[in-house]
């Protein structure tokens, strides 16, 4: 227990500043999204404007999504450990690779819990003020966002694992940047191709009044997103990604220098 306390203390101290900046960003965004409530915007929706429920979903969704992204993102610890020489030093310290990986996972879960609670608090304020319960939906959006970012983190951490020096990190950074650009370009080409195949049908199929999606489709989407099945699926994905994260961290701590 003492050992984990030491490991976690080190990681939390090193990621504290980053966490603080993320918290400020998150709270500023939350404050911005609370402005309509503070200005009494939901008391009497004006005619022709979006219904409050849609607005609630938009505001809460934005904040929760941001919270999920911030919580799941890479905390820069591996990179900092390589730069400082701690990574090499850790090979001569008593904690095993598995114990260090457990500590990495616990710190990650701590941040997920922290931003999760803040997101939940925000969603609760909106639920009370707007008289609309979107807790299940928000949980799924939050965990979904965490899963996506954590998956990217797992891949990134796996690549970082191969770096042993600042020079390697630089090369990997450039390669990752170019790789990400390439993926975005490929995805862009793919979606552009799909649009071309669809032709004007896509535009014709859009909802009346110029809206991108009809009310019915939107409601179906929201219902599906907030359903118990989705929660189960996202929770399972989260568990698998946590296991993957642990495995990659374990391998990373175990891997010796060439």
């Amino acid at each position: 227990m003492k050992l984990y306390r030491s490991l976690i203390y080190r990681e939390l101290r090193l990621t504290r500043k980053r966490c603080f900046l993320m918290l400020i960003l998150f709270l500023l965004l939350a404050l911005l999204m609370l402005t309509p409530i503070m200005l009494g915007g939901f008391s009497e929706p004006a005619e022709g404007e979006d219904a409050p429920v849609e607005m609630i979903l938009l505001f809460v969704g934005t904040v929760v999504l941001t919270g999920g992204f911030l919580a799941g993102t890479n905390n820069g610890l591996q990179k900092a450990d390589i730069s400082s020489g701690w990574k090499r030093y850790s090979f001569i310290l008593p904690p095993t690779a598995k114990q260090q990986a457990v500590s990495d996972l616990l710190v990650k879960l701590f941040y997920i819990l922290l931003f999760g609670l803040l997101s939940a608090a925000f969603a609760m304020i909106y639920s009370i003020m707007g008289d609309y319960n979107a807790f299940g939906l928000m949980l799924n959006i939050y965990l979904g966002a965490v899963c996506i970012v954590m998956l990217i983190d797992v891949v990134y951490s796996y690549i970082i694992m191969l770096a042993k020096s600042k020079k390697d990190l630089g090369v990997i950074g450039v390669a990752a940047f170019l790789g990400a650009g390439l993926i975005i370009k490929v995805v862009d080409l793919f979606t552009a191709g799909k649009d071309l195949l669809k032709g004007d049908n896509a535009a014709e199929q859009s909802a009346e009044g110029g809206a991108l999606i009809s009310d019915e489709a939107f409601n179906r989407f929201v219902t599906a997103l907030g359903s118990g099945k989705t929660t189960l699926f996202v929770a399972a994905a989260f568990a698998v990604i946590c296991a993957l994260f642990f495995f990659v961290m374990w391998r990373s701590h175990e891997r010796r220098e060439p």
């Binding site: 030491s6 101290r13 090193l14 020489g85 030093y89 090979f91 001569i92 008593p94 095993t96």
Partner: protein
């Protein structure tokens, strides 16, 4: 705890890199001894140390630390081992207090009182960020951390390089104190041979990935000598006695590997005692035989 005779046993260790090979090296460091590990830059000192600490995997051979296998018994070894690198491997944002909090959970025998004593002795600030420390202060902090968990084996990789003579002397003095109980051992790699001449019991000399000399320092120094003679005299010296020859405008200086014997064989020549520096220098040029 296992009883052991040698704190370090390295047998036939080979590690191949592109352009460099640590070639079948073997040497021991007896329990209670300070062993100086010398060699020029790129000779293989750091590779040897990284191999024995299992920072890198070896291609072949066997390493035993404190009587235990360096891979199989890694966890047990790490609790009883301390390492000081040439650069401080701690994050700049931490302070001395943070390091104590980090290490106290990691080492079962971590002693905060001992750590505090070293911090006070080195006059290190507890709350100042490590990033604001001087090089000497950083090294002292690393040594304080290394000596505060009752480690039986201390491995140092160029730990005194770049420090001023006053700090170096202070640190060497602390190492001498640390060995007082006879249960602890030190392997100290350095190319500053004057430090090792002061404190080492044993010396292992590595060059181009091969161990050239290993043994007790006094024996090595006593057995070697610098024979001074004319250039014409060189032809009369048995090649078996010669390590290498340094020529200058006035004659030649020949490093002989059996000073006593050479004294009888070449009684018309002067043989001066050799320092570790001299020995290292002449051995490095052994392939050329004659150099200036």
């Amino acid at each position: 705890m296992t009883a052991y005779e040698n704190a370090i046993e390295i047998n036939g260790v080979t590690k191949r890199y592109d352009g460099f090979t640590l070639d079948n090296i073997s040497f021991d460091v007896p329990k209670g001894a300070i062993c100086g590990f010398i060699g020029q830059n790129g000779a293989g000192k750091t590779t040897t140390i990284r191999s024995l600490l299992h920072i890198t995997d070896i291609d072949s051979g066997e390493i035993r630390l404190l009587g235990l296998d360096h891979i199989k018994d890694e966890i047990e070894i790490k609790k009883r081992l301390a390492v000081v690198f040439d650069e401080l491997p701690f994050h700049d944002i931490f302070n001395a207090k943070d390091m104590a909090r980090i290490f106290e959970g990691m080492y079962p025998e971590w002693d905060n009182a001992v750590y505090q004593q070293y911090i006070e002795r080195f006059q290190l600030p507890m709350k100042k960020k490590i990033g604001q420390f001087s090089k000497g202060m950083k090294m002292k902090l690393q040594i304080a951390c290394a000596l505060s968990h009752n480690a039986e084996l201390l491995v140092m990789d160029e730990a005194t390089t770049g420090l001023d003579p006053v700090v170096r002397d202070e640190i060497l003095h602390i190492f001498m104190e640390y060995l007082q109980n006879g249960e602890r051992s030190i392997l100290m790699s350095s190319h500053i041979t004057s430090d090792l001449e002061k404190i080492a019991d044993m010396v292992t000399f590595i060059d181009k990935g091969k161990i050239l000399l290993t043994g007790y320092k006094d024996e090595i120094i006593e057995s070697h000598g610098i024979l001074k003679c004319d250039k014409e005299k060189i032809a009369e010296i048995d090649p078996e006695d010669i390590v290498s020859i340094r020529t200058n405008n006035f004659g030649a200086e020949v490093m002989v590997n059996d000073r006593e014997n050479a004294g009888y064989k070449y009684c018309d020549c002067v043989i001066d005692p050799a320092s570790l520096d001299d020995i290292m220098l002449y051995y490095v040029h052994r392939d050329m035989k004659e150099w200036s």
